[in-house]
């Protein structure tokens, strides 16, 4: 254990701070920036190595060697300055790593650069109404017709489908193969005739997701990534990136700080919420958990620096992190009492109703990206070496 940073790393930190100070006028102020300003900021970040840092230069990235510590320093300094980070959409966090791993040279050249710069927005077509946790049972079919596939079926839980230019999509190309071997991973335009996007309104009151319907959508066979029938294995390479995104301890720590501020500033009967021993005790329980996951995160950072497998400490992050976020929102709602149920607008509304929004939306995150129950299977089977549930012959 030595949590000090070397002079080289402190120098790098100074460099990031100087950049953020010099460019404060580019990000300070209104959070809702026009699209062009956001794209410009993204390009500036890539040019300086604060976004797309480890993506090779030839594909439009900055081309630095992977360095977990520098990545962490960038994250810390951007959070401290309140500066917007580089884009973290599904195209960048899931498609780009997949293309780098298994894409053809042509696919890498065509898609990675514009995706990194935010010029091409992607959505993910994985889950289906009948294929959730059992994703490999997906039924959207792609039938061969000359040089094309003709796709029909539907996808669900597709966030950003309405804004997306492109989709990376799992379809069944070999109906007679065993279920894991009959899937292909396709890239195609959301403007292709035959695609219909319907917003999927959730309990939050807004539509964070969509349903996407395909009726005889014609896509060239060259759109396959990683080989025909290999889609399951291509997708699994990406799913591990998604699980890494959920349960980020920095975001959890920021949320806890907001909760502490709330409990110090809000009062009931003239008494601060923090002065209620029951709420204070619950806050301390959560603080212990936040610190625990923060230190667990540092341990995982060290493991990836030294190339060691993070093992159990890595497997538990999604399960524990998402649950913890949910509990922080729950305490905020409880501590606010009746005010905690206010929503949408009104003079008594606190934090724009975001605690309730988080409480509802985070339940979706506990389910999405591998449900808590699937996470427990993974922890037990891969982490503890426990046997799998025997499979039914028909499944």
């Amino acid at each position: 254990m030595d949590l000090r940073f070397t002079p080289e790393m402190e120098g790098f930190r100074d460099q990031v701070r100087t950049f953020l100070t010099n460019h404060r006028d580019r990000y300070a102020g209104d959070a809702a920036r026009p699209r062009e300003a956001a794209l410009e900021w993204q390009r500036l970040l890539i040019d300086n190595g604060y976004a797309a840092r480890t993506i090779p230069k030839e594909y439009g990235g900055y081309g630095a060697a992977p360095d977990v510590l520098k990545t962490r320093i960038i994250a810390e300094e951007f959070t401290r300055a309140g500066a917007p980070r580089g884009f973290a959409n599904q195209g960048i966090s899931m498609l780009v790593p997949t293309l780098l791993e298994v894409g053809s040279e042509e696919q890498k050249k065509q898609w990675i650069g514009p995706t990194l710069r935010g010029e091409v927005v992607w959505c993910q077509g994985y889950s289906e109404p009948g294929a959730g946790s059992d994703l490999a049972s997906l039924q959207t079919k792609a039938v061969e017709d000359g040089d094309d596939f003709v796709i029909s079926g539907s996808k669900i839980w597709t966030s950003t489908a309405a804004q997306a230019d492109m989709i990376f999509c799992l379809v069944r190309t070999e109906p007679d193969a065993p279920k894991h071997d009959g899937i292909s991973y396709l890239l195609f335009s959301m403007k292709t005739p035959g695609i219909e996007v319907r917003p999927l309104k959730t309990m939050t009151g807004s539509a964070e997701f969509n349903e996407v319907f395909f009726t005889d959508v014609r896509v060239p066979k060259s759109a396959v990534v990683g080989g025909r029938g290999r889609g399951w294995f291509v997708a699994n390479a990406t799913l591990k990136h998604e699980r890494g995104m959920l349960g980020d301890p920095n975001a959890t720590e920021a949320r806890l700080h907001s909760l502490i501020e709330l409990m110090k500033t809000e009062s009931v009967d003239g008494r601060r919420l923090i002065d209620d021993p029951v709420f204070c005790d619950r806050l301390m329980q959560l603080q212990a958990r936040v610190l625990t996951m923060k230190f667990n995160g540092l341990r995982n950072v060290t493991a990836s620096m030294t190339g060691e497998p993070s093992g159990m400490a890595g497997l538990v992050v999604k399960l524990q992190g998402c649950e913890l976020n949910h509990q922080i929102a729950a305490l905020a709602i409880d501590a606010l009492g009746e005010l905690g149920v206010l929503y949408e607008d009104g003079p008594h509304l606190r934090a724009k109703g975001s605690w309730q929004w988080n409480y509802m939306f985070d339940l979706g995150l506990i389910i999405g990206g591998g449900t808590a129950q699937i996470q427990k299977n993974i922890i037990a089977e891969r982490g503890l070496g426990m046997p799998r549930e025997p499979k039914l012959a028909s499944a």
Binding site: D2, L69, V301
Partner: protein, 358 residues
């Protein structure tokens, strides 16, 4: 930035685990638990050969000169083995003496503690976790009067580290005139607790105010002990679930059982990092030491209780029998939870440290 233990620390811990497997198998624990007159001297001698009593004592005083993280790794191994050993008192006295003792006191006591010749009992429960049943020790004119409960190794200690009602620390010889000791029986028979009564007992005050440091070190070691004991309970539950068959399958293939095991592991594994950090902060980041020690103590207590109960349940009826001996770990976790403050009290202190509670 390196958040990991060194290869040397790992080797030390593995070697200690093997030493304990030889010196304190479950049969030895059973004999210690059954016989109040068993002092466990053979176990302590084996640990003294290892250098454990002096783990944080500077080398010039005959210790290993290591940090609290090394002591915590050792405590984890002791918890794994549910080993009877006066380790908590040894480290607490080392901290009190190195941080608050005079040069003369250090030279007189530290080498003998490091060698394992002087067994130290810890009598700080009232100052840390509150006074009950009229307890509390008042220091006046170099003499101590009153009483202290939940004193570790009270019947066998050669020396006591005693906290008075205003947070001062004193060394008191086990044979000091006016000192009366008696047994206090807890659920956990792998550790010995007792009650001390002081009637104008001569004490040797320590110069500086070090009660907070002693408390933080003790909280961290109790958390580490819980980490080790709870880890063993998970291992035993998983092994049992992989072996026990019902309905024609091993029960570990049922998700109802498998998920209990996953929940235990998901709760405990991140705790390892919290314990490491608290121990590291004790020596290297003093501003964070109190808060992280408190959170380690309180959080590991909660996780320890969950695992003690759940791992026992995974064993089915066998879990509650004496035959299996699982209850030694269950009870060890139970004592670690309450000793020097249950989680609610410790969290209250954690809130006060941050100015969040009065």
């Amino acid at each position: 930035m390196d958040f990991s233990i060194t290869p040397d620390q790992r080797l030390m811990q593995e070697s200690l685990i093997r030493t304990l497997e030889a010196a304190v198998p479950l049969d030895r624990v059973r004999r210690f638990a059954a016989d109040r007159d068993d002092s466990g001297a053979d176990v302590w001698a084996a640990l003294a050969d290892f250098g454990l009593p002096g783990v944080v004592i500077p080398e010039e005083h005959g210790g290993l000169g290591l940090g609290l993280l090394d002591a915590a790794l050792a405590a984890e191994a002791l918890g794994r083995a549910v080993a009877p050993a006066p380790f908590l008192g040894a480290v607490a006295a080392s901290v009190a003496l190195t941080r608050g003792g005079s040069a003369e006191q250090q030279a007189r006591w530290l080498p003998r503690i490091a060698a394992g010749e002087v067994v130290v009992g810890l009598a700080i429960a009232e100052a840390v976790a509150g006074a009950r049943d009229g307890m509390g020790v008042v220091a006046s004119g170099g003499k101590l009067t009153g009483g202290s409960l939940f004193v570790t190794d009270a019947m066998t200690a050669d020396l006591f580290l005693v906290a008075d009602t205003v947070g001062g620390l004193h060394l008191v010889g086990g044979d000091a005139p006016g000192l009366d000791r008696s047994v206090v029986t807890s659920i956990d028979l792998t550790r010995r607790l007792g009650e001390l009564r002081f009637d104008a007992v001569p004490g040797e005050p320590l110069a500086a105010h070090t009660l907070d440091a002693v408390r933080d070190a003790a909280w961290t070691l109790l958390a580490a002990d819980t980490l080790g004991a709870a880890q063993v309970m998970i291992e035993k539950a998983v092994a049992y679930a992989k072996e026990r068959r019902q309905f024609g399958r091993v029960i570990g293939s049922f998700q109802a059982v498998k998920h209990l095991c996953a929940e235990m592991a998901a709760e405990l594994e991140p705790c390892r990092s919290l314990v490491w950090y608290a121990a590291y902060a004790f020596d290297e980041a003093p501003a964070e030491a109190g808060l992280t020690a408190a959170h380690a103590k309180a959080h590991l207590s909660e996780v320890g209780r969950f695992i003690a109960r759940t791992a026992t349940e995974v064993h089915g009826g066998m879990g509650i029998t004496d035959l299996l001996g699982l209850h030694y770990w269950f009870k060890r976790l139970g004592l670690n939870r309450q000793l020097l403050g249950g989680p609610e009290r410790v969290r209250r202190i954690a809130a006060r440290m941050q100015g969040l509670a009065a």
